[in-house]
């Protein structure tokens, strides 16, 4: 079955019911989402928004209460659908009795990679993630960042078409993060779809092409990164502003905040900020700063989850 989407969910819902109290928690509430093939998609949300439950439903570790999820057009509950998926879970616990190479060999075998191919791929992947000397070392000796990189190699070993990564740079140092980003970019260029669940907004902003923000189990906002961060404007900082001027400026600004005798004002257009500057100068008010701004993903995120 061919589908133009790597991931497609329709009305995906998960309700957790406590066994005795008959209490219900709607972890994921009617999510319909499409992730195009070959994109890098970021799933964001505050703690408890339902991100991990959503990812687990994609990988059939959690059964949906309602709705369905498709991976490349196949029902995600079917084992065959997961053949195309490489997964790096958050808080993974790889058994420490494995060596690095042994762990890769085990998970590759479970993914259906033939023995001869595994022997060839394992050293290549250890090299790719910067652990070429560590293949024979038991995982108990690995640092958190090394385990994360080995986990990424594990997700890549069967040449998946979809990579699902839960906090992929968690515990990794800045050099390692750059390395992981470079690896993922290389796979994106090869047409692999990358689905990242992360709370590191700056990283998602520099790396992802499309984003969805979950809040209280629902998609609160979604779109391309360019669309979501398109909000431009100007930030004006004034000093010694009398009360009547503050009121005039407030009427034109989109936001206002005060700090240490200074007032920060955000304006949506050049015309509005020019009017504000004229008003301030007419009342002999000092202009401390005037800078053009763009809307960061963090601004968008905070606005979305605080609604």
């Amino acid at each position: 079955m061919h589908s133009e989407y790597a991931i497609e969910t329709a009305g995906l819902t998960k309700i957790y019911r406590s066994r005795w109290m008959r209490r219900e928690i709607k972890a994921v509430n009617d999510i319909s989402l499409r992730v195009s093939r070959g994109t890098i998609f970021g799933l964001l949300g505050p703690n408890g928004a339902g991100k991990t439950t959503f990812v687990k439903m994609l990988l059939s570790a959690v059964h949906p209460t309602a709705g369905n999820a498709l991976i490349f057009g196949h029902n995600a509950q079917e084992p065959a659908a997961r053949r195309a998926v490489g997964y790096l879970p958050e808080n993974h616990r790889f058994p420490t009795y494995f060596t690095g190479a042994g762990m890769l060999d085990f998970y590759a075998a479970l993914s259906g990679v033939e023995s001869a191919r595994r022997k060839k791929l394992i050293p290549e992947l250890l090299e790719l993630v910067g652990l070429p000397q560590w293949g024979a070392v038991r995982l108990g000796k690995y640092s958190k960042g090394m385990l994360q990189r080995l986990g990424l190699a594990q997700a890549l070993i069967h040449s998946p078409s979809l990579l699902v990564l839960d906090e992929p740079t968690d515990g990794v140092d800045p050099v390692g993060r750059r390395q992981i980003r470079d690896i993922l970019t290389r796979f994106e260029e090869q047409g692999v779809t990358v689905f990242i669940n992360s709370h590191l907004l700056a990283e998602v902003e520099t790396f992802c092409r499309e984003v969805a923000i979950l809040d209280k189990g629902k998609v609160a906002l979604s779109g391309t990164m360019a669309e979501l961060t398109a909000g431009k404007g100007y930030r004006l900082t004034v000093a010694k502003a009398p009360d009547n001027l503050v009121e005039d400026l407030r009427a034109r600004a989109t936001s206002l905040s005060a700090r240490d005798g200074l007032i920060d004002l955000q304006f949506a257009s050049r015309e509005l900020v020019n009017e504000a500057v004229d008003l301030a100068r007419a009342q002999h008010c000092d202009i401390e700063a005037l800078i053009p701004t763009t809307s960061t993903l963090e601004d968008v995120f905070v606005r979305t989850v605080q609604k």
Binding site: A61, Y87, P89, P95, A109, G112
Partner: protein
């Protein structure tokens, strides 16, 4: 390929937790015990006397009886202490695979949940089987060489011991999947082992019980629970007197194991991790 990987993983974990080597060490101690304790005097190529545990057999008939007694003793040892050890050793291997951060990754692979659980179960049975085969074959070969009496019926204990372990392991799997507790799984399984010889006194109990419903309850418990004692008794009879009392304990125990594994697979397939 995936089944082999799951079984190998169970072996790796059994090695790492020293379970395999613990059982292997105990089996070796047992084999060495017979190797050095059993003293045989050979006179002009024939066996004159055999002594073990202070008992001395002088005729060939006596030797045969002593050897069969030894075989019966080992089979009984395997049935009681060996089985306890195997259950204790294996109980942790099922919940460990269900740990958060480990099961999620396993489930993300293109294999069914049934495959994962059965692979783990098979690996666990094989770990214990290797040790049972090593112990029984080792003792059989030592006694055979020393006494020149080769009693193939002793080898039946390999099959019956592995069978009963597989039956009891199905309980470990179900409790492990339900509660993720190795301690609880051990307790329930050991309780079944302890209750088995009591339930086996069915003929006596049915005479002693006064009401029909209590007799019916006793019969239900006896026929539905695994017959650890009965299968052990069957093995002993086969080794010592070459008698066979019927397949009922085998097939009712097998049905019990199938039901337990079926329930475990059902629960495992429906659980969220």
């Amino acid at each position: 390929m995936t089944t082999a990987a799951l079984i190998l993983d169970t072996f790796r974990e059994a090695f790492a937790r020293k379970i395999f080597w613990g059982l292997f060490g105990l089996s070796t101690v047992m084999i060495l015990f017979f190797l050095f304790l059993l003293r045989i005097d050979l006179v002009e190529g024939g066996m004159a006397t055999l002594s073990l545990f202070g008992r001395t057999a002088e005729s060939m008939t006596d030797v045969d009886r002593v050897v069969r007694g030894v075989y019966g003793g080992i089979a009984t040892f395997l049935y009681t202490w060996g089985m306890f050890l195997a259950v204790f050793a294996s109980a942790g291997l099922i919940p460990s695979v269900l740990e958060p951060g480990r099961i999620g990754l396993l489930l993300s692979k293109p294999i069914s949940r049934t495959h994962i659980l059965l692979g783990r179960y098979a690996g666990n049975v094989l770990v214990v089987s290797c040790n049972i085969i090593y112990l029984v074959l080792g003792v059989w070969i030592i006694l055979g060489i020393k006494t020149r009496i080769w009693s193939p019926t002793f080898l039946i204990s390999i099959a019956t011991t592995i069978f009963i372990f597989a039956v009891l392991l199905s309980v470990v799997v179900l409790v492990g999947v339900l509660f993720e507790s190795a301690a609880l799984a051990t307790m329930v399984t050991v309780a079944l082992m302890i209750i088995s010889p009591i339930l086996a006194q069915t003929a006596i109990m049915l005479r002693l019980l006064s009401s029909e419903w209590s007799r019916q309850l006793w019969r239900t418990l006896y026929y539905s629970l695994p017959k650890v004692y009965d299968v052990g008794r069957m093995t002993l009879d086969a080794i010592q007197s070459h008698t066979f009392s019927g397949y009922m304990p085998i097939w009712t125990s097998a049905v019990f194991a199938v039901v337990m594994m079926g329930a475990a697979l059902f629960v495992f397939s429906r659980r969220d991790f």
